[in-house]
Amino acid sequence: MALLDTRARDIRNLPGVGVTAALAVAFLYAPILFLMLYSFNDGRSISRLDGLSFRWYRAVFANEEIGGAALNSVLLAVIAASLATVMATAAALAMVRMRVRRKAATYAVLNFPLMVPEIVTAIASLIFFSAIGLGLGFGSLVIAHTTFCIPFAYLPIAARLTSMDAGLEVAAADLYARPLRRFALITLPLLAPGLLSGWLLAFIVSLDDFIISSMLSGPGSTTLPVHIYSMLRLGITPEVNAVSSLMVLASALVVILSGLISRRKT
């Protein structure tokens, strides 16, 4: 009786939680799927399907402004993610493997970009770059993006490093491998999934940014989200839907890839 009683009150299977979870997922996905469906519309409408076609995708690929903005975005994301990953890796090595004084404060600084509201970062960067005379453009974008990408690259790299067996590095040291050789032959290969996962997250975070880029981009350095935003002045068009769907696809691929990599066991 007591056992039955416990089961009846088992909090693990609360009524309604499954339904809420399903609704939450539906709420997150329905708008995106709807947008993707209408990107295949053969007609001009965004509220009535007139058959399916790749018409708007062809229009997107033929549009040189979109192409240019996409190229800027990808280039920016690759540079910012790479710089952030190198710096984050160095920081993670120090934080996880070495004795660092004032560790909590150092950790707080590394994660500081996560805590600042985006609009504050955006206008602070604008003020800073105009004060030092660097002005707007690709250079400023690279610096700003690299900065806010650091914690996103740091977290998976540090996590991987923490879960790695430090014994292997010690063993290499016992066998007289010099520090650099030890790093290149033992630490780096083991760390690789963390590096890739950190790089991918930084890449996607850079690609995702709108506010900071819209404040800092100059005439020739428009990024894709900034360009999509400017397309909205004419309202939502199937072309907006098509280019948006391509961005969804890119993000989904990168995240799933990153998830698969980080799930591989040490």
Binding site: R9, T20, L28, A94, V116, I123, A124, I150, I228, A252
Partner: protein, 288 residues
């Protein structure tokens, strides 16, 4: 220089120079005089902060109380607060459900919840507007079922903004709550029942303390980006109802009053820092 300092220097230096320093400079700009076409004149002035609450008469310079900007501040806090509560109401059961699944299903559900967060926020906001428009699928379905005569005003209002904030930041609430529940040892519940705790007592004194770090983290992760959000009010509010983020942005685009924008941004940054420090101190006290 020691090796660990050399390794830490690039990242710490980058963050301090290109993020902390610009924020400090913003605070400095907030007490300078605006130049006509953006930028500042290096002359101290408290005008930006006076403007938060008062309107200066252009003829005789007298100040009269004006709550317009305070209202925007209050509305932003309110919107973000509502969104946080709504995220909690949806996020807690969802996190609970995911955390109590068998391991294989767990990772699938986690992936399902995480992927939308990484989808471009602008794209997600546009997608939500597509759903909520007068000609959108929700209104279409309601009308074809004969439930409503005309389209319900779902888009371009505070409701739409709130929904936008929830969909933007819901994963931020689910993930820390999930992490907290995941660590929970369910045999503690059995123990509570063995000691004749009622279901409500079990929730209150066993589960809630374990959820608390997740609740606090989730709350901050939704509230902080929510109060400064730019895209949801801009796109879903149709530019009719401003929030703090838009007001700040405007000072650097159309209105060109950099010190005022800097002052608003300093207010936002202070609210954020105070919230973070309170939470950090509380966490430190609980750990001690």
């Amino acid at each position: 220089m020691k090796l660990h300092r050399l390794l830490l220097a690039p990242s710490l230096g980058t963050i301090l120079i290109f993020m902390a320093l610009p924020i400090a400079l913003t605070t400095l700009y907030s007490v300078l005089t605006p130049a006509q076409h953006g930028g500042v004149i290096w002359q101290p002035s408290g005008e930006a902060y006076v403007r938060l609450m008062f309107e200066r008469d252009i003829f005789d310079d007298t100040l009269s109380f004006n709550a317009d900007y305070l209202q925007i501040l209050g509305r932003s806090a309110l919107q973000a607060g509502f969104a946080t509560i709504l995220c909690l109401l949806i996020g807690l059961p969802t996190a609970w459900f995911i955390a109590t699944r068998p391991p294989a299903q767990k990772s699938l559900w986690l992936m399902l919840v995480t992927v939308p967060y990484w989808v471009n926020l602008l794209v997600r906001t546009i997608a939500l507007l597509l759903m909520l428009r007068d000609e959108g699928p929700i209104n279409g379905a309601l009308q074809s079922m004969g439930l409503t005569d005309g389209p319900l005003p779902l888009a371009y209002n505070n409701f739409a903004i709130g929904l936008g904030l929830v969909s933007s930041f819901l994963p931020f609430m689910i993930l820390p709550l999930y992490a907290a529940i995941e660590r929970f040892d369910f045999s503690l519940l059995e123990a509570a029942y063995d000691l004749h705790a009622s279901r409500w007592q079990a929730v209150w004194s066993v589960i809630l303390p374990i959820l608390r770090p997740g609740l606090i983290a989730g709350g901050l992760l939704v509230f902080i980006p929510g109060i400064g959000s730019y895209l949801a009010p801009d796109i879903l509010g149709g530019g009719k109802t401003l929030m703090l983020g838009n007001l700040i942005g405007m000072q650097f685009q159309g209105s060109r009053n950099w010190p005022f924008g800097a002052a608003l941004s300093t207010v936002l940054m202070s609210v954020t820092l105070i919230a973070l420090i309170l939470v950090a101190r509380r966490a430190a006290r609980e750990a001690a």
